[in-house]
């Protein structure tokens, strides 16, 4: 029984690993091919099946004037928009979540849970419903096709995630911990940043990770709300696909797009296994 279990376990792990990693290897291999190697016959292994070339990668940093596509600027735009929006969402979302977790709000029939649901409901709606209002809103305040406009829109998208995760997290931090801090001479603000916040790092990391992922991969709003002035990475990558599909530079740009998320995942994983609250919760 246990032997079979071990076998099945390793079988599925192997299967899943191949399933996940194969497309990446395929993309890595493709990014070093030229037109000939992609279109003439199926090729896999560099030097053996085809002669590797860096052309696919070079195109990415060449300016359009020299026949390149230059994803450097969109890349930094994406980093800027994602990080700024995530940071603001986390800061505001954490404060909102703390309030929702610790204080009781009453406004007519609205209670804490309704407010939390209101935040989440922003994510339940299909994004396309919001596209026209956002478009009109941004054009009215003159922020269409600008980084700032995108940051504003992304905050709307990301803050619900932060609030949702952090409310749940704060609900699991015993209220007595805040009370002890108050009794020990902290005013409510000190209690929050000296005691509650340091114990919420695992939650903040999870929330931050989700914000970064959802901000980074968004294509829809980046596509609708920008034209020529500002471009974000997802739009630029998809735009590579014109009359001829340049598989080599498409693969290369896809790889550089995923790279930051992979790095984030590795860093976050280390912190997640470290942090726990068992000392306070027991």
């Amino acid at each position: 029984m246990s032997k079979l279990y071990t076998f099945l376990k390793y079988f599925f792990i192997t299967f899943w690993t191949v399933f996940v990693v194969a497309p990446f290897l395929w993309a890595v291999s493709t990014s070093f091919k030229d037109f000939q190697s992609v279109n003439s016959k199926v090729t896999y292994i560099p030097w053996l099946d085809f002669e590797p070339t860096l052309e696919g990668w070079r195109v990415l940093i060449k300016s359009p004037a020299k026949g390149g596509v230059d994803i450097v600027e969109p890349y930094f735009n994406s980093i800027f928009v994602t990080c700024t929006a995530s940071l603001i969402s986390i800061v505001l979302g954490t404060l909102a979540a703390y309030a929702l977790s610790r204080f009781t709000f009453k406004a007519g029939f609205v209670r804490n849970n309704d407010i939390t649901f209101f935040f989440i409901s922003q994510r339940i709606m299909p994004p396309i419903v919001l596209s026209i209002p956002f478009f009109i809103f941004l054009s009215t305040i003159g922020l269409l096709d600008s980084l700032l406009g995108l940051v504003v829109v992304y905050i709307v998208l990301l803050m619900p995630i932060a609030v949702w995760i952090m409310v749940d997290f704060f609900n699991r931090v015993p209220k007595e911990l805040d009370e002890t801090a108050l009794i020990d001479g902290c005013n409510p603000y000190q209690a929050f940043y000296k005691v509650v916040l340091p114990n919420s790092i695992p939650g903040l990391i999870v929330a931050g990770m989700f914000c970064i992922i959802f901000g980074w991969i968004d294509f829809f709003f980046a596509f609708i709300l920008t034209f020529t002035e500002v471009q974000l990475l997802p739009v630029k990558v998809v735009a590579l696909n014109s009359s001829i599909t340049p598989w080599w530079s498409l693969s290369a740009s896809a790889l550089v797009s995923v790279a930051p998320l992979i790095i984030v995942a590795f860093i976050v994983e280390r912190y997640l296994s470290k942090g726990n609250l068992s000392g306070a919760l027991k």
Binding site: L182, I183, D184, C186, N276, S278, A280, K282
Partner: protein, 361 residues
Amino acid sequence: MNLIGEKISYKPDEQFHLNDVSFNFKKGNLYTILGRTLSGKTTLLKTIAGLLNPDQGSISFEEKDFIKIPVWERNVAMVYQQFINYPHLNVYENITFPLEQRKLSPEQIKKDVDEALKTVGLVGFENRKIQELSGGQQQRVALARSLAKKAKILLLDEPLVNLDYKLREQLREEFKRIFSEGLSQDTILIYSTTDPQEVMELNGEVIVLDEGKVLQKGPAKEIFENPSNLKVAEISNDPPMNVLKGSKNLKNLNFENISLEIPNHFKNLEDKDYNFGIRASEIKLDENGEEFEIELAEISGSETLLHLKRGNSKIIALIEEVMNFKIHEKVKINFNANKFYAFGEDEKLVSSPYGGTNGKN
């Protein structure tokens, strides 16, 4: 200079959590609040700490209106029944936290913390993480943090309830030592518990609380000997005091077709119906006694708790040896008539073996 509470009421929802509670706590004394779960003990302590604001009533300390002072300026200390420490700090930092908050000098902090660590017996654990400690040690850290503060009001909310039996016994002993040595004459110590035994051992002034109301106040001995009514008698005994509905006539006490000779302290009692109270420990197995049916027999440590039934009355007897009984078996028992309490039909104490009556209290 006392901590005085007057007519404090707190009613956040349908029910009173505190109902017209008054107290006068003097410095250098130990007060215990005895009550069952949800009787309002924690609410009362939180009100004193300032975490809750009462709907009515006033609290004053050192002649100042306490309610106007926010929690963080009140200089109280509190130990919770859950082991609450700062998980992101180690043992030493946990204890220094409130002292640093008050901006004491580093020398003073070091001195106070070392002293507190010594008192609770955690010397050598300074650099441990909180998560690495056992429950008892975590509670010691919480206690050390409270002691190091040298707060004028120290609140302990059922500090032993979440510990296992052995540790509880051990820490209870230590508490008695800590309270007598480690506290200055300036401190008011308030200790809440559900356990009558703890109250008797700590031997301070007792407030019996039930459903947010104060039922009785007085020294531990007085509460034990002369509970002012049936509720107090139930709350202040473990197992709760047995209650038998019956009557007294010229010659006998009668209940459940049992007649007992009238004990001396009942001689002057009016002839009428009473609720008779008798502690579980005053009931003995006796071949010549009255027949009861066993409903349940629990062995607890070296004692056996017999849940007995006769007619409409259910009682608990505490037998001081380990014995095996079958359920529904019949046993014969005898009551120590000299230890009977009489409560009126209004449940107030009428006569006690220790001479108290409701009128006296």
